[in-house]
């Protein structure tokens, strides 16, 4: 099932189930439980074999260790590529985009970190953001940029958390940057240094 997102401020991304659309290449980028979204997408397509024969799946295990590579490989995709991590997955996507043509459909599924970073690479080509399908699945841990030192901390689970670069205590906002593909973290004890609320696990 699609991971539910509570709409808060306008900048907070929202997601919808993937739908099959016409295309000459179906480029699917997923991590972890995002694999299930791809499987359900194929299940509801009335031209499943046509999509499979023109599908390229680029996949990485999720931050929680979920790895559905074997299931995806068994689908009979035209091309399947498994990367060990998201940073190792992105150069493959960039290389595929360099040769891709209009008529390509994009399907992104999995954690918000994966979706946001893949979306950023696709948008950089000039492809309209509103035409990229995105379905959030699995872990809700966040990719957060410290607005003070600009360092990015991956897989943030608690709020507040300590910036992995400068050590400031950061409050995790829903304010999201598409350009950076990260939520924004703001120092929570700037006025009263040391007055830091007890961290709560908000993202799992």
């Amino acid at each position: 099932m699609l991971t539910p997102v509570t709409p808060t401020i306008r900048s907070r991304p929202v997601y919808a189930p993937l739908e099959p659309r016409p295309g000459r290449l179906h480029l699917m980028v997923a991590d972890g439980e995002g694999a299930d979204a791809l499987i359900e997408l194929l299940a509801k397509a009335n031209n499943r074999s046509e999509i499979l024969s023109s599908a390229h799946v680029i996949y990485a295990p999720g931050p929680n260790g979920t790895d559905r590579s074997d299931v995806l490989k068994a689908l009979g995709l035209r091309q399947f590529f498994r990367a060990p991590t998201i940073p190792a997955l992105l150069p493959r996507l960039v290389r595929v985009l360099a040769d891709a043509h209009m008529g390509t459909q994009f399907y992104l599924a999995g954690t918000e970190g994966l979706i946001g970073q893949a979306e950023r690479e696709i948008m950089a080509t000039g492809f309209p953001m509103g035409a990229i399908q995105k379905e959030h699945r699995g872990s809700t841990v966040r990719r957060v940029q410290c607005v003070h030192c600009k360092g990015i901390t991956e897989n943030v689970a608690t709020d507040p958390f300590k910036c992995s670069h400068c050590g400031l205590n950061l409050f995790v906002r829903d304010h999201y940057s598409r350009r950076i593909a990260a939520f924004q973290g703001v120092n929570i004890d700037a006025e009263d240094p040391g007055q830091v609320p007890e961290p709560v696990v908000r993202f799992k």
Binding site: R21, P22, G23, R24, L97, A100, H101, M102, G103, T104, Q105, I122, M123, T125, G126, F127, P128, G130, A131
Partner: protein, 320 residues
């Protein structure tokens, strides 16, 4: 006053381009720079055609970098309502005229990796300004331009001389046609498509692209509709308390203006949405002719675009 701020200009020159097209160059009355515009913008030209007020939208074709003048090209339509005939027969150098400020409903999406332009006939005009803009600021483009014959291919010589490898011309008379499916299949990701020309061409290009998986957000088109003629009809204007009759060759918007009602407008061609008006009562059928309202809104008959749409039936009451 509706339609935005106006510009007073003088006709600087009138140049025949071919049997059907004339080019008009306008300069500000006081010789100052005209307002800046971007490629794809249009202006609405006001004409006083022997007592009949005509307002027609025309794409600006001159370079956006040159603010000393605006240029438009007008194709004569002998079967039209008379605006283009007035321009061809009665507009001469030295004449003073009124233009609207430029409005752009057909801009380049500058995030695109490449711009694919498809023009049919007089639909070339917005692309002339867009290409001038790309010449100045950089940007990859390709133009596919179809005309009836070599003689009627306005500005083809100029375009092919400046951009021999980017401009491709096709002539109906020589049975040449754009190989659309190959063209649409070979564009790099991040290409945006722009089409301007006859309705049939626009529909062909847009529907082919969508069927091949191009997203609508990467497809841009512009088509100014002439209001079109029809049977006369009566309309009640609720806000101003008037009842008017719209003549055969008049638009509802023009009839309101003739009755002294200051109704909003910008493009006068069914594209911009500015004149959208609520319908209080409709006992009959609205003949929707705009590109603005959705098919659902057309079916609901709760809104009308007075610049192009008409009515058939007993009673139409609108909020104006």
């Amino acid at each position: 006053m509706s339609g935005g701020a106006k510009l007073r200009v003088r006709v600087d020159s009138v140049t025949p381009v071919n049997d059907l097209i004339k080019r008009f160059r306008f300069v500000a009355l006081d010789g100052s720079d005209l307002p800046a515009f971007s490629g794809g913008a249009h202006t609405v030209v006001e004409m006083d055609d022997h007592g009949t007020r005509r307002l027609n939208p025309y794409s600006l074709m001159s370079s956006p970098a040159d603010r000393s003048a605006y240029e438009i090209s007008v194709r004569r339509d002998d079967q039209g309502r008379g605006g283009s005939l007035f321009m061809h027969r009665h507009v001469t150098p030295g004449m003073e005229m009124t233009l609207s400020y430029p409005v752009n409903l057909f801009p380049l999406d500058t995030r695109a990796r490449k711009h694919l332009m498809i023009a049919g006939g007089i639909g070339i005009t917005p692309f002339l300004a867009q290409i001038a803009q790309l010449d100045q600021f950089g940007g990859r483009f390709e133009l596919h331009y179809a005309a009836r014959s070599r003689v009627l291919g306005a500005y083809m010589d100029r375009l092919t001389a400046a951009h021999p490898s980017q401009v491709h011309c096709y002539f109906d008379e020589e049975n040449q046609a754009i190989d659309l499916s190959r063209l649409l299949a070979t564009q790099p990701i991040g290409t945006h498509l722009y089409v301007c020309g006859p309705k049939g061409m626009i529909n062909w290009v847009l529907s082919s692209a969508e069927a091949m998986g191009w997203p609508r957000l990467a497809l841009h088109h512009e088509e100014f509709l002439a209001p079109g003629t029809g049977l006369p009809f009566e309309v009640q204007l609720a806000a101003s308390g008037k009842t008017i009759t719209v003549g055969t060759t008049q638009s509802l918007l023009e009839a309101m203006e003739a009755a002294g009602v200051d109704a909003p407008y910008l493009c006068r061609g069914g594209a911009c949405g500015q004149c959208e008006t609520n319908v209080h009562k409709c006992d009959g059928k609205i003949l929707h002719r705009d590109h603005w309202l959705s098919p659902e809104e057309h079916a609901a008959n709760a809104k009308i675009m007075p610049c192009v749409s008409r009515f058939e039936g007993k009673t139409l009451v609108i909020d104006r």
